[in-house]
Symmetry: C2
Subunit: 443 residues, 2 copies
């Protein structure tokens, strides 16, 4: 059968082994940070019924990959049509409902999986990509302090990774909502106005002002909406600037107190990493409290690499409501931007190549390898009992730092970078900590 | 929009958090063992062009899930039709061809990912499941010793896991092939005879003998084919029993030496774990050397939980041939069988719940948590400043072993299992090693 030409597929990124080691490092650090913060890992199936996928996530229906069994007839008894999940929030909400009787609330979970969207691939946007989500979901009521806590978890994870300076921007839905209501707008106007203000970076404040007046706002109201969007601060000083706009409303005051609490906690636990930015609007129309976006400093046009917020009803089964707050790291998006500047210290886990003196003595080399592995030293035995120079070259090409020589007169190990060779015993010798595991470094 | 009823989906297993912790432990041990043996991790995209999927893997075409963009028109420019991969071998072969210029051979890779098959779910057979594969692939020629090495890697991984007694059965394609040829069968008869002999466990030796004579074998030839299939041994003694059948052929002798080498290495490095079983036929029609299957002792009817073998041409790009040897652990299959007998020591990574004295003092509890995390102790802060008894109960319900009390008069930590409470300093206190991470235990 003639087959497709072998070539990369746009939107479906794959890494070479050394690059995958970099990505794996990121995934390991993210996972271990999530676990340090008491989040339990789950995975959900990759597929959901299409009607469930269509019911959530706004216009995501345009992006869903549907599934069909190639060999199946029209009615193959598989039940509802299936599609690949396009995020981890919809499946998590379904998992919470399905297992609510078996979970303890508040439930802290992380989930690191691939998701799929059929949209056109662009810079940093893929058709298959990895998301790393944390959510805290409660039954009935969710304490506000979790909205303070979540960006600190992300800041902790990012602080352990070589991602350069980043900025977590936070806003609170109640601030624009309260301000708009205080300006005399009706509750029905809130979301349309939020959507118009959200265009400020694209079309500029003048056009937004025009659009707002076209939507029925007075020039003064429009000016105040814009003034709010222009406020940002690295601390809770934003609140006084908002109050200086002279608008009063209890919802606004609630929002200011809530965002101030986030900023005050951040000042202590993640100084300099959070910015209150009242222009952040994405998701404000479906989140109900704090919202988060994250930019790489100097790469703002790349868009957010980590976003989330609070939902009053992550899930609802008719008897109980499950409010939640969550953040999702766009791991593939982040890697696509950072990979050119990073590399693994080597493209293989192997720290020691055990040389083979002759094929008859391969068994002895396997013994050495087993002894090293028993103490956690990753190693492999040379493929061929070639001349030692060739075996050293084999290690060198792979970045393997040490070669072990099981000479009958006495074993020795050579650091092929320095050339230093020392007698060694496989039951005690260990490489330096920096060489034991694959690390990553900036290039 | 009305949505599908929330319910588990047959063939798409999901785990509760505590069960996922068990599965994660297995995945971590498998991965770290693969890395100890010098295998580099890669991931491939979940999708391949359908024509590539159809071109490999025997009758797997019946099982492929095809993909379509729900919102796409007839000609949406996505190129060839895509399907979800049904194993990790086909994508790995494609990856090797695509990246051959950037890989160093022999290339040792592991790959732990989900795969999908649209077949009818049964006991231990799923539509979405995790496979953990290792392969060693070379360019041109692949040394035989890798066929010896691969089952030892699996034995090493399984020895680190609570899977109970298991048995890796090995055979070598050359043994039945050489025997059949030595009996005077033609090369064209080899695969059909292999397929008939493979039915021995299902239909019994009598029926197989009849089928063999119907296929043109003499009663004596059929009897010798059956006699071969009945030979098994925990060591290389199988070879003499095969030779006692009185058939001679150079291919048979090659096979006996090759399988003896596997058994001799296993006797030293994984004593008691490998069995030479000349009945193992699955895959002999497409593998070309050693083949492996793995049974849980006492659960033989469940089928193989880990299988593989040697290919002379894992991949071929017209200029180079890439021979390989690989084994795949059916992780989901294994978990489905073992999960009822295993549990996590707790369903959350949290080792310490930091109690909250009052909501005003939550910040102090967050400080304690940050200090503990800085030293690798997973913790979370209590959700509400309830009475301490209630906060202890919160920890107890989750299996969290320690509760921390940040009393202004002096901090203390309580082991809620023993009730022992001691003064503690968050900058120095560490839980016992057994409590630091989630473990698993048999139930």
């Amino acid at each position: 059968m003639s087959q497709s030409k072998i070539m990369p597929m746009s939107g479906f990124p794959e890494w070479l082994p050394g690059q995958r080691a970099v990505e794996q490092h990121f995934l390991d650090v993210i996972r271990s940070t999530f676990e340090l913060h008491g989040f339990a890992g789950i995975e959900t199936r990759a597929v959901e019924p299409v009607d469930r996928l269509l019911g959530k996530g706004g216009d995501a229906d345009k992006e869903i990959y549907g599934l069909s069994r190639l060999a199946a007839g029209e009615d193959d008894g598989t039940g509802p049509d299936l599609g690949l999940h396009f995020d981890l929030t919809v499946p998590f909400a379904r998992y919470v409902l399905e297992n609510s009787g078996k979970l303890t609330f508040p439930f802290r979970r992380y989930q690191i999986q691939k998701v799929w969207r059929g949209e056109r691939p662009q810079d940093g946007r893929f058709r298959e990509f990895i998301q790393a989500d944390i959510d805290i979901v409660d039954s009935g009521e969710l304490p506000f302090h979790y909205e303070v806590e979540l960006p600190l978890v992300i800041a902790d994870a990012f602080a352990r990774l070589p991602i350069g300076p980043f900025r977590i921007q936070v806003n609170n839905r109640r601030i624009p909502e309260g301000l708009y209501l205080g300006l005399g707008l009706s509750p029905e106007q809130v979301v349309p106005v939020l959507r118009i203000v959200d265009k400020i970076d694209k079309v500029g404040p003048q056009t937004v002002a025009t659009m707002l007046t076209e939507a029925g706002l007075s020039p003064e109201q429009a000016a105040t909406c814009l003034a709010l969007a222009e406020i940002n601060a690295p601390d809770s000083s934003f609140a006084d600037r908002v109050r200086a706009l002279g608008v009063e409303h209890p919802v606004l005051e609630e929002g200011l107190l809530a965002l101030s609490a986030v900023m005050d906690a951040a000042a202590e636990h993640a100084p300099g990493l959070l910015v209150a930015d009242l222009k952040v609007a994405r998701g404000l129309d479906y989140y109900t409290g704090t919202v988060y976006e994250t930019q790489l400093v100097g790469q703002e046009s790349y868009g957010s690499i980590c976003s989330g917020g609070r939902y009053d009803a992550l899930a609802d089964d008719g008897r109980n409501t499950y409010p939640g707050v969550g953040i999702s790291i766009g791991v593939s998006r982040l890697m696509a931007k950072l990979m050119p500047g990073l590399e693994a210290t080597r493209a293989t886990p192997t720290a020691v190549l055990v040389a083979v003196t002759s094929e008859d003595e391969r068994r002895e080399s396997m013994r050495v390898a087993a002894a090293l592995r028993a103490r956690g030293v990753a190693c492999e035995v040379a493929p061929v009992a070639a001349k030692f120079g060739k075996q050293i070259k084999f290690a060198d090409r792979r970045g393997i730092p040490f070669v072990w020589f099981p000479d009958t007169a006495g074993h020795s190990v050579k650091d092929i970078r320095s050339g230093e060779q020392v007698p060694a015993d496989a039951s005690t010798w260990t490489p330096p900590a920096d060489d034991l595991r694959v690390g990553i470094r900036e290039v």
